[in-house]
Symmetry: C3
Subunit: 122 residues, 3 copies
């Protein structure tokens, strides 16, 4: 899920001019990515890579939660980022032309995810 606009909206709403914005994901089954947004196939490749490296397969993991997608989701989160800090300048996130900030859901079923936002600056 591309959250760039949502994060930019928070910057606009609070009139953050320049400073450091930190996002913290309070979940262990979702995490942040700074990634290319020019082509949906990039996201498809990410999903295929993770399914290949850390498949949702019964018997593969020692951790046996209720849902099969739980154990690999921890490992997928570990390889990405629980936290990201983004410099804000002139009320803008410094994202590259084809760069977006994503929240990557590692579980299969849709979930409500909470992100803590912290800003320090003007």
């Amino acid at each position: 899920m591309d959250i760039s606009d949502m994060v930019q909206s928070a910057v606009d709403e609070h009139e953050f001019d320049s400073g450091l914005l930190t996002l913290w994901c309070v979940h262990t089954g979702a995490s942040f990515l700074g990634q290319a947004n020019a082509d949906d196939d990039v996201i498809a490749d990410i999903n295929a890579f993770f399914e290949d490296l850390l498949p949702q397969k019964a018997g593969k993991y020692r951790h046996k939660p209720d849902h099969l997608d739980n154990a690999p989701s921890h490992l997928r989160a570990l390889l990405t980022q629980t936290q990201v800090s983004i410099p804000v300048e002139n009320e803008r996130l410094p994202l590259g032309k084809v760069q977006s900030l994503y929240l990557f859901e590692h579980r299969e079923a849709p979930k409500i995810r909470r992100i803590r936002c912290h800003f320090i600056g003007n």
Copy 2:
């Protein structure tokens, strides 16, 4: 090693109320994880995953240090995080209900590890 309590103790001791706490690991064979703490099998799965992906095996790596666990430890550190920044609010770390902060030792023998802590805020 779950360092959540140790980090919270540092917040308490210095009476940090709200701000941004940054931890920097000055080693290249240990790194940070934000991970689930509900079940020790999660950590066992992490260890198994890394041993599978980056085994401690003679002849696998060009870097030939004194100890076999040194070369893969660099690569394991690279896939996790040398640094983590955590928003502090009302003197609390914003960890989720089953979320802990870990320092992940990638070497086999126990080592003394130093973490630089930086806080900015009130």
Copy 3:
């Protein structure tokens, strides 16, 4: 590319004494590493690991850009870090004795890369 000296020069030039320095890579095909600098074979091992895990091979990825190294570069960036925040103390980066900060180029051809630097402190 070891950017430790370049980053330290920026700290010197702006006379940053103590605070938090954040680097943000505005590209999706390059990212940051905190890594060992004692032996060039460490970097060779990193390159071999990524080529093994995410090969530049026609037909492997759905994303079909002009250049074969583009699709795996996104995935390699994802496994490392788009952003890094480093505490500065007494005008020094807190790098360990054999620890350097690298900008890791995931594309094959040389490219000009821009890094946003943000400092908060004194």
